[in-house]
């Protein structure tokens, strides 16, 4: 057999293998190895170490290390407090991390504020989370918000120790480490607060496999009265923009004109104003991920920037340079990266910010 026909034969067998597997659908793999011969390569130990960063509830995957509450406070104030508040209590950017748990919860492992009759307004992270590994894993892989994976292992321990201290789960002189983390797990306020008694896991390992709510498809005279439990509040109707502009302008229906309902003249489709265009540019360029129009997010609000620089000599030039080159230190330690926008775009953004950053 010539080399060519041998190759052709192999290719044919390969093709048949793949075809029959596809035709068979579920349950049929393409002819097992060597079907994917030549595809992929062995992962090196260093590659696996670099990416396999998950930590399980039994702490498998947790690297050795330690951090004190005090060290954690330093990291927290530099890198976390802008979003989460000095005491993890802030509700400005994200929901609070700390609050709502008690010494009694630490004893029982059930957070009382989750139970019927509680008037506690919100669910904080410490009220919900049952597994300490979750917090270590998440801080390590995703925090800080604008610079994920930048914390050193000991810093992750330290930040977590600080959070646990804010929740009064560990004392102020505590040093959290891989050696004692399992002991701290036993003090998590909501460690007994999870249940898998439900039918919403699509496998055998967890839960009951059976739906919890059973309805019947009755077809006629199914009830004697129609009880309306809730209708749309006025503020909710008008909070979502003009519904007339969110529907097609042909067909069986039109969107409701919210402005008409409010007694204002119907808004004709207009060209967006210069302010609206600048606002759009700020959104499209990712500026508003860190700067609110009127509130601090990660960086200062545009209103704060305007207030600080207004009337100062060459405020525009200074800010244009800042946007281009990036900066840090004026508003906090979190740096703003250099922005790659056209010069005239940066100029229009800066002028808009200095004018008070109106949304429209």
């Amino acid at each position: 057999m010539s080399r060519f026909s041998k190759l052709a034969c192999v290719a044919l067998i390969g093709a048949l293998g793949a075809t029959s597997a596809l035709a068979a659908g579920k349950g049929a793999a393409p002819a097992a190895n060597p079907a994917f011969e030549g595809l992929g390569r062995a992962a090196t130990p260093a590659e696996i170490r670099a990416w396999d960063i998950d930590v399980r509830p039994d702490f498998k995957g947790l690297p050795k290390g330690q951090g004190s509450v005090e060290q954690g406070q330093d990291v927290w104030e530099a890198k976390c407090a802008t979003c989460h508040g000095t005491f993890g209590e802030s509700n400005e950017v994200f929901t609070p991390i700390v609050g709502g748990t008690t010494a009694d919860d630490i004893k029982t492992g059930h957070v009382k504020n989750l139970q019927p009759g509680s008037s506690f307004p919100q669910r904080t992270t410490l009220m919900k989370v049952a597994t300490l590994s979750t917090l270590w894993d998440y801080i390590n892989r995703a925090m800080p918000w604008t610079a994920p994976k930048s914390l050193k292992t000991d810093e992750v321990y330290a930040v977590l120790a600080y959070i646990l201290n804010l929740g009064e789960i560990v004392p102020a002189d505590f040093v959290l480490s891989d050696a004692n983390i399992a002991e701290v797990q036993k003090r998590m306020p909501n460690r007994n607060g999870m249940t898998t008694d439900h039918g919403l896991w699509p496998g055998k390992g967890i839960g009951t496999g059976k739906p919890d709510v059973k309805a019947v498809a009755c077809m006629s005279n199914c009830k004697t009265e129609v009880k309306i439990g809730s209708t749309l509040p006025d503020y909710a109707e008008t909070a979502h923009g003009n519904l007339a502009e969110q529907n097609r302008t042909i067909g069986a229906t039109r969107g409701k004109d919210i402005n008409a309902a409010k007694g204002q003249p119907a808004a004709a489709a207009e060209k967006p104003s210069a302010n609206a265009q600048a606002h759009q540019l700020a959104q499209a360029s990712g500026c508003t991920a860190c700067h609110g129009l009127t509130n601090k997010v990660v960086g200062p609000g545009f209103n704060e920037v305007a207030a600080k620089y207004k009337g100062k000599g060459d405020a525009e030039g200074k800010l244009v340079a800042k946007v281009k080159q990036g900066g840090a230190g004026v508003w906090g330690q979190i740096p703003m990266p250099p922005q790659s926008l056209k010069d005239e775009e940066i100029k229009s953004l800066v002028q808009w910010i200095l004018s008070g950053a109106p949304a429209k």
Partner: protein, 461 residues
């Protein structure tokens, strides 16, 4: 001009549907006219159209005559019939018509405070069939979206310990695109879809109440084939962990049973092209029937293990608070659900008469078996027509004709899936799960039609 004595009944209504620019608005006068009686309203609006045209083209003496003789859209040739159109590739990547600009992804104000960790909803009120255009696919990111260089993207397969995967491997996109692919149509729904409505009505339209829902044809490789290529122990490994390459490097636990069913795909294709960056370009996991958060985007790693992982999105978020204070953990399946997409909240019916009531139904447990529709708030139901083919764990489109008599009505839809599960009412769902669950709200949706033709969101218990 407001009198048309020679026109037969009905003709005015057809002409009246030619509405004056700007399209799509009912002015206060129009609304008052609708309330006073539909025929007058429509006749008035026709007159207004003529008047508007008269003002805009002063001196054109044919106008008045045209209005008497018929529709100016016919009698006066429009510019597109009397000019040269644009050349090919004027827009090398096609865009919707300028008249469709209202149907876009939108955020719900006040839902989240940071756009990088927010939601943009699909405009279900204006879509047809079952496929969501890729540019309108809903968005949910946990730490912003990235546009990843595919030549530098890698997929790693390894085990929670060496015995789980004999040959931990790394694949490039070149490798994955060389594997034999499958293409399948599936829905993806965020576990928090309709979550704002657990306690009471909170949003005006179906875009915000149900728009964390999309359906696409996905192309990719069954994950099992790749795990077998790595010598994974598919018996000892009862779970997999999927991990993203973005800043959040989101992780979720998925049961091996789903992988063994060959339904779980390592996907790169969406509706015939590559995934959009917002949807995970160049690689995402497709986990049919399971809430969207498990369909890890920008997929970089799969770990095979023998325990669930309690990741942030299965231990802090995506846990469902029950009335007794316990949180349900590892709730993944999206149970059967349906919604009428038109007529729906925030829309106005323009007239009495025939309407096609249309909507979507789906189940995370398999195929939709039937959809029933009620026009009286759930006292009586009629089976709607399902548009085929019906795919497993995909959206199904239903349609049913309805003649509106101008009286108040409450429209509902109710799906039954192939397992026999029937979509519950709010009363039935809350009796078991309370109102603080946030996730997995699949209650029957009700749209109230008022005499004015206005459709609004209400909850029937």
């Amino acid at each position: 001009m407001s009198e048309h004595p020679t026109r037969p009944e009905g003709a005015g209504q057809r002409l009246g549907k030619v509405r004056p620019a700007p399209e799509g608005f009912l002015s206060q006068d129009d609304i008052a006219a609708v309330k006073a009686g539909r025929r007058d309203f429509l006749r008035g609006s026709f007159s207004a159209a003529v008047a508007a045209m008269g003002a805009g083209a002063a001196g054109f003496s044919g106008l008045a005559r045209a209005a008497e003789e018929g529709d100016s859209a016919i009698l006066t040739l429009p510019p597109w019939s009397t000019s040269l159109g644009q050349g090919v590739a004027a827009r090398p990547y096609g865009l919707p018509s300028q008249y469709e600009k209202g149907l876009i992804r939108r955020e719900s104000p006040g839902l989240t405070r940071v756009s990088g960790s927010s939601v943009a909803f699909t405009p279900l009120q204006g879509l047809f069939g079952i496929i969501t255009p890729s540019g309108l696919h809903f968005e949910r990111h946990h730490q912003g979206w990235q546009d990843i260089d595919p030549s530098r993207h890698r997929l790693m397969i390894n085990g929670s310990d060496p015995s789980m995967v004999k040959r931990p491997k790394v694949y490039t996109m070149d490798d994955i695109l060389r594997m034999p692919p499958v293409s399948r149509i599936h829905f993806i729904e965020c576990g928090a879809n309709t979550g704002m409505e657990w306690g009471n009505v909170a949003v005006p339209t179906v875009q915000y109440s149900h728009g964390m829902l999309s359906c696409s044809e996905f192309t990719g490789v069954p994950l099992r084939w790749i795990l077998e290529d790595c010598g994974a122990d598919l018996k000892k490994g009862k779970y997999i962990l999927a991990e993203g390459a973005d800043g959040s490097s989101m992780t979720r636990t998925i049961p091996m049973e789903l992988v063994l069913s060959d339904e779980v795909l390592v996907a790169y294709g969406q509706n015939g092209e590559m995934l959009r960056p917002e949807n995970g370009y160049p690689l995402r996991l497709v986990v049919p029937g399971v809430q969207g958060v498990s369909w890890v985007k920008w997929l970089r790693r799969i770990e095979v293990g023998d325990q669930p992982y309690a990741s942030k999105d299965e231990a802090v978020h995506y846990i469902d608070l029950m009335p007794n204070g316990q949180h349900r953990q590892y709730t993944s399946t999206q149970e059967a659900k349906s919604v009428i997409t038109s007529p729906s909240g925030g829309q106005m019916l323009l007239d009495k008469g025939f309407y096609n009531v249309t909507g979507l139904a789906w189940s995370g447990r398999g195929k939709v078996k039937k959809v029933d529709v009620s026009f009286d708030g759930g006292i009586n139901w009629k089976e709607a027509r399902l548009e085929g083919p019906v795919h497993s764990k995909a959206l199904s489109r239903f349609n049913i004709g309805w003649v509106w008599d101008g009286k108040p009505a409450i429209l509902q839809s109710r799906v039954t899936d192939e397992t026999g599960y029937v979509q519950p009412s709010y009363g039935q769902l809350r009796a078991v799960r309370g109102t603080k669950s946030i996730y997995h709200n699949n209650a029957i949706q009700s749209w109230k039609v008022a005499e004015s033709g206005e459709v609004s969101n209400v909850q029937v218990l």
